[in-house]
Symmetry: C3
Subunit: 620 residues, 3 copies
């Protein structure tokens, strides 16, 4: 695979006579790909059945003839206003019961069968017309599933669908009652039609009830996407892609990804830092114009797994965005650094979002590669720099990481359903594990529970709620809170053979429990009974890390303790670690080692002085 660049473009936003000039400038900047169409339904079908595709024909032709490859999006994330008259109940409802109506985007409920049919209809129309178009080299389904909290819907359509899903899963109400433990508070059902959605209850609903609703909701996203992929497959051989988001965990991306050829995601490092991370103000100040050093890398590694090795960035932040609490500009060089971090993690393509800043509507304050007046914005030059650099290093050869970190979407749902301590976040637990590993200079594969490979010498499995396996032939650390439940959301006290959890504690964030060898347990501690060797004990002698090749970690550890444990375990299985300076990060490909400086100051490392936003690489 070759490394390439691209951009997102909205021909429907601009006069047609500007298209050729735009296309020429894209090519001139070294871009290969252009994504179009995903919000254009109201122009493709201005009224029901009134198809107006000529303009799209022409746009594809102009772009394609200029030498660009087109990624064509299905427009289902923005159904036109007339759809709401055709399907008045197509909208999602929030947990408070309010309809989430027309006027922005993603205004549909995944469970609504009428809208599902509309989605298939427009997909088929586009697939038939463009499936064999030589310029259309890839397809994108919908846009950013789950963005704006749109996976969970409490609509009538969701209620009907959920009951049907439960009846298929459990076959009888009694089986469901037993599985959920409904006897607990006389919550037993005599019929599937008696079951409600788990919102608006007096106090918390049964966690098993909520967990099944989370599974059901994820399945609807999978089904919605599959509707489109099945149609597209019949008409095109081009690869099918969806553009996921950062830290959207409400549906199982591995399940959606199984129906697609390439995973892609939309990477907004500065917006995510302010909007989706719990880190301290001090941390956010340190990286305010660079983004967190690990947040993007984590998603790169995650989506590489979702794409079974093939992944892109479909939208790359090019300057200030419009949607975070504050929206500063990236440091000069970051739009280059972010692209190279992605390539170093195996990205085939990085597309910037968007070509020209739109001076109107919701995202008018979101930068593009061009300003609204068509003058080049700073990121255009950085993109052109990257284009030149990848011309000299075109091949994507992804390193075979020795460390694997399991990420499991259902575990995220489980601990949102039952955190037990207000600070317990599954995403956060996994991310802190990732950050610590990466601070040791490691390359990491983020994998589904079933994704561990022979090459993985060390596997981390924090917080997998149920069914985590112990892989053969590798060192594995499970826990904390791993395998603590059955699939039915009941307590399972034996996470690995030889270990019994007698009881668990969550505790105040301001009461860390110091460990004798440094660092501390934070938030969470399980008390173990074990016959296994103990590697780490608490200040009062409790087992904290136990086991042989398969180990169990009984607590959430802070950075210092986790780093110490990981260093020791890496050493034990022959993995080399380094102590990286603050803000510096490494990543290898099959052929090169890359060094990235996310700090605001130059860093000296192994004889190299690396500027802020600097990228430095050497051949391996």
């Amino acid at each position: 695979m070759k490394r390439t660049l691209g951009v997102c473009y909205y021909p429907e936003h601009w006069p047609e006579d500007l298209w050729p000039e735009d296309a020429a400038r894209m090519v001139e900047a070294g871009l290969s790909w252009v994504r179009i169409g995903e919000f254009a339904w109201s122009r493709l079908e201005p009224s029901p059945g009134n198809l107006q595709l000529d303009w799209l024909d022409r746009a594809i032709k102009v772009l394609g003839n200029a030498g660009l490859k087109v990624i064509l999006g299905t427009p289902t994330a923005t159904p036109p206003r007339w759809m709401a008259d055709k399907h008045p109940d197509m909208f999602a409802r929030d947990a408070g019961g309010h309809v989430r109506g027309f006027g922005s985007r993603r205004h549909y409920c995944f469970s609504h069968q009428g809208y599902r049919a509309e989605s298939r209809r427009i997909t088929e129309i586009l697939a038939k017309r463009y499936g064999a178009n030589p310029h259309v080299a890839a397809w994108q389904t919908d846009n950013e599933y789950g963005c704006h909290d749109t996976v969970l819907s409490y609509s009538d359509a969701a209620l009907a669908g959920f009951r049907d899903w439960l009846s298929q899963k459990y076959q009888s109400p009694d089986a469901l009652n037993r599985a959920w433990g409904n006897i607990f508070w006389s919550m037993e059902y005599a019929s599937f039609d008696e079951i409600g959605l788990p919102n608006l209850t007096v106090t918390e609903p049964n966690p098993a009830h909520v967990m099944d609703f989370r599974r059901y909701s994820s399945d609807q996203v999978v089904a919605f996407n599959r509707d489109q992929t099945e149609i597209l497959r019949r008409h095109t051989d081009a690869p099918l892609i969806h553009n996921y988001m950062g830290r959207v965990t409400e549906f199982d991306h591995f399940d959606v990804g199984a129906d697609l050829d390439i995973a892609s995601w939309d990477s907004y490092p500065l917006g995510f830092l302010e909007d989706r991370m719990e880190d301290s103000d001090a941390h956010k100040r340190s990286f305010a114009q660079q983004g967190d050093p690990d947040f993007q890398a984590f998603h790169h590694d995650l989506y590489r797994a979702v794409g079974r090795g093939r992944w892109w960035i479909m939208e790359q932040q090019p300057g200030p965005v419009n949607w975070a609490p504050v929206n500063p500009a990236p440091l000069p060089g970051m739009c280059r650094l972010w692209a190279w971090e992605a390539f170093a993690h195996g990205a085939e393509t990085v597309c910037y979002f968007r070509w020209r800043q739109a001076p109107f509507a919701q995202e008018q304050m979101h930068a593009g590669l061009l300003r609204p007046d068509s003058v080049a914005a700073p990121a255009l030059g950085e993109a052109a720099d990257v284009a030149r650099e990848i011309a000299a290093m075109p091949d994507v050869g992804t390193v075979e990481a020795k460390v694997a970190l399991i990420f499991d979407y259902p575990s995220n749902w489980a601990w949102e359903v039952q955190p037990q301590g207000s600070a317990f976040s599954y995403f956060r637990l996994v991310f802190e594990t990732y950050r610590t590993l990466r601070s040791l200079g490691l390359d990491i594969d983020v994998v589904a529970p079933s994704g561990v490979l022979q090459r993985h010498k060390l596997v981390l499995a924090p917080g997998v709620f149920s069914g985590a396996q112990i892989p053969d032939d590798c060192r594995v650390i499970l826990g904390p809170r791993c395998n603590s439940k059955t699939p039915d959301f009941k307590i399972n006290a034996s996470p690995i053979p030889g270990v019994t959890v007698s009881h668990v504690e969550s505790f105040r964030a301001d009461m860390p429990r110091a460990l004798p060898d440094g660092g501390a347990m934070i938030h969470w501690q399980e008390h173990l009974e074990t016959t296994l060797p103990v590697h780490e004990t608490s200040a009062i002698g409790e087992a904290v890390l136990v086991g042989g090749r398969a180990m169990y970690l009984a607590a959430w550890l802070d950075f210092e303790a986790l780093r110490r444990v990981f260093r020791t375990q890496c050493e034990a299985c022959g993995i080399t670690t380094v102590d990286l300076p603050e803000g510096l990060r490494l990543r290898r490909t099959q052929t090169h080692q890359f060094v990235f400086n996310y700090g605001r100051d130059p860093v000296s490392w192994r004889g190299q002085n690396i500027a802020p936003a600097g990228v430095y690489w050497t051949e391996l």
Copy 2:
């Protein structure tokens, strides 16, 4: 009365062949009581009219034959799912108008007459069948009235009931208009049918309107409970009990208690510390695994009054719970200490909640005396220790306290309706008074406004909104904010003869007003005109404490100032005080003095070294 222990048990959760073993182990641990049945309606009546009581017959028999006394609960806190079809409008509505539906517990509106009839029906069925059963030695009505904010409901049933209640109270709309001062903003009503519930108004509703709604809502709890007690009385001579909660103040417990024989409450010291106390993080850190040293004691003294001398703990925390922001384990020994603190306050029985941790449904992370795998949890041993200790000291002889502190539920409603300063909490005002008294080593009676006895030499009446009397023959301190209103929620400026409040101020929490003799006024100050002697003045010479035998305190005092005032007043009426070290608390019975160490460190006191969680007693 003898001191006894017990436990809460759910035979419907476990295989029937486990019951005899469970019963035997309970007896072996020294337990005398077992509470059952309160959440079992869906098994007692799986479909309307289809009664299935045989299993309960057998459970009672197994437990009783083992030597246990059964407390049988009416199951009305968890109506089965079919009830919602029979009475689709039975649910409460929250202040935003949302239905609080099926799926957890307490899903009924106290005002709903249809559900009230169902409650009577099932109560009568159980009363008839078990009223004379020799093993059923006590009854519990419903479960935790008011838990999960369920007293206030804005349903249609509540609206109809409220209008009827108002028509009976006021007889004519004009009388109501005059009482409420509805002329104020043209809020006058021509008919009772025009009156709405006091939610969803543009700005605050009339406080008199809200206050009557609070009274009405409390009355519905009383009526609901009385429905059951009237039936039970016809069929049983066993004592009737309800299990109240900590810091639930939405209904008048004295009113409910008047229809019962014994008050009990559910004591969760660690959960309450984190979930229901406004204290500083530093305070919460100090007592994170012990619970606040005074919160339980306050409720013990309160519910002793509610039970007219007879009171129990129906549910005692046995380990980590599942519902607070963080859920640590108690320090070793606390499950013993908490029981002894209760006994020292006159509890007849302490029941731990629950026998065996249920591995399923909402409370699966809530500890029991047994783990889900039936292994003894730490609290079982502590319970057995207590059982042995009370065998040596069986008699409950409650000390005759000399200090009384008035707690008045309507006052709590009044100041929630009209706090006037955001920090003004009636509960908090009373609790800080209690805490200060107890820090002086005092035994306290918490009493209703009508509950002052001859033996009380010093009476405290902070914040009683209306109608607080000055008892004969004792020293009494009223205020702040005492008698500041008429029953109609109008200003009364003369709280005691000789004192006029010219105006009041609430002020910033970060602007305490220092007192010349130490300590400060916080949150609240009334400006007095008085002909009475002045005992305490502000830095600028305002009267802060005035009066003779009956005194008026014009401000909310901080701990230091309050302690100084109380020390002086105790001395004046011959009550001995001591300066207790941080975390140490005293309590006397008729025969013994108990010392409790709530601190994390050992404390030396009067020659004794008392360990953390230590209990030490001496004969008087």
Copy 3:
């Protein structure tokens, strides 16, 4: 014009035989005006059509005969309960869709045509009866438009009205689609009847959509008020007034004011400090019993412009109020100081609110000039002091300020719609500009964008979203964020000739960007391309202040930097500045200079020692 005092009075709250005594005491205290009637509809028309005006006749007569001039209020802010039966859909709905019902005040939707007719009907009844009454010397329309967030309503009436308003503005859906940029996310409309209100969307609605809704909503307030003024004009020559509030910005007060003769506002310095200002706790502690030194002055200057030179205080805080988070008493002297600050700014009349504290209903804890027991509260004496003082200095001669500061209501709406950084508040930006100017001892005219006069040597125009003109013959500083949009809410990158904004940044409040000459940029920076002279540059050389006579300021500056810039610019155009001590403020009339000490401590200034709450004046 003469300076006068007045008071707000509710004869309907008190026994009729108290009226003559009250009137006599008002006159005795030196009051000239008494406002009545604005909440009395339920007594004027107890049932539909049943008019009962005799009591009002008598009240006016008693007050008038005592020598008082009456301001008569239309009672439309508190429609009686029967109105809700006549017009069940008359209520506003909040953004969540909840009806904001009966039970307090302002329970009507400005868009409801049925209620608009009722408002005209009762206005006409009162206008006919009292329009020529010699005692009725002024009229007040309604009461505090916009208080309790009542401008924006999401009712059916608002939806219908909005569609109609849009159809008149745009004439065709296509024109609207183009203006709003609805192509952006396929949001195009085929008919005006398809357009919804901009609430309950999945993510943010189109800012152009919201902006038009804000304009529409403001227009409804204007129309509602005009309904009344047109009727009143036909029956009376007395001046027409409305009493605006502090920091209510949801409707354009200049538009409402154009239909009235005098602007007035309700000034609650202590309540506003705690409830409506974002300042630090330290600042709030410094002025807890005095109010912010500039908040009232800003509104005085603003409403002087709204009233085209004629303005009053209709309600002046007389002691503790009931509605702020904390409600302390003003320092002795503040009720005098506040009145003099108003008079120094050109107020003709200051009315205290209210005569006697009402012991019932919502505002029972709100002080009056009398206590509920009719004893004089402290403010009565201060009012009498002011009365004596103005007798010696009766003339209002407003100084001709040389500095103008533009305040533009649509700009406030625009930046609420699209803050782009969470700290960006238009009100705050303007207010901080005002505060800085005032700290330099300047007299300021706050003006509408069209209100700049020849005498204004220096004009400030921060944050005017669109269409700000550069006045002739004066020095003007536009920006930050000035003229950054077209009226259609699209980006305009050229705020003044010679300046192009290449891009903008919002940034963390804890990351100020220090300026080389002192102070810092905070919250917001625009990056300029300019051909104009640069007066101020950032630490890395970016242009921060550029231009000639017309300058553009590219950033939000902190107090220190702004003060430096303003000092320099004042010097350049011959305006003298002074460095005032903390808490001291100046204001001139045509004849006098006033010095006000808002601090808690005495201040020495130019040889004068000025006590806390002290007012000191000298002839110019």
